[in-house]
Amino acid sequence: MLDILDDMDRPGQTGYLLLNDEGAVLSSSGDLENDERTAATIMGLINLTSQVDSKAFPPEEGFKKLSFVYDDHCYIICLSNRKIHVVKKKLPTDIPSNIV
């Protein structure tokens, strides 16, 4: 199953990490191969985001997707089946750098 995920062709993908719910690296490839430091930072961020504004976001709702957008690339993080999927991908250059 993990091999199938590794081989999946996602357009623009330059790296991939699969973590368990304790933050251990189960699988990795590309730019994020064996990147324990990124894995630790991402786990810290997931723990922090569970406490974001309780007035604007009811705590029972939680988040499904977390993205970190840089000028030319981004990290997209999704939680599924008690595993954390992290994809690093290149962004098309024609979108504005400031998305806000």
Partner: protein, 90 residues
Amino acid sequence: MEKKLETVMDELIARPGVVGCVFADHQGLCLGVTGKASDDSAGIIHAIAEEAARLEPKSKPPVILLENDNRSCIITTTGTVTGAIFKSIN
């Protein structure tokens, strides 16, 4: 400074889908809050922005986007100020 931030917050809250926003300084202290958001979250949004900047210390801080089916939150840092914008998707 406060007047300018208030103007920015008024402009933001008037945008479609925006339900609230909060701004924090370099210590995570609340600079301003408007709409459906709590000043208690200034510290946490600053902590999230600081932790995210550690992902790639050589790049400029990323724009952080948190999403679920109904809502989204955008966190961005400019200079020493961190801002969070809360949006409702419906």
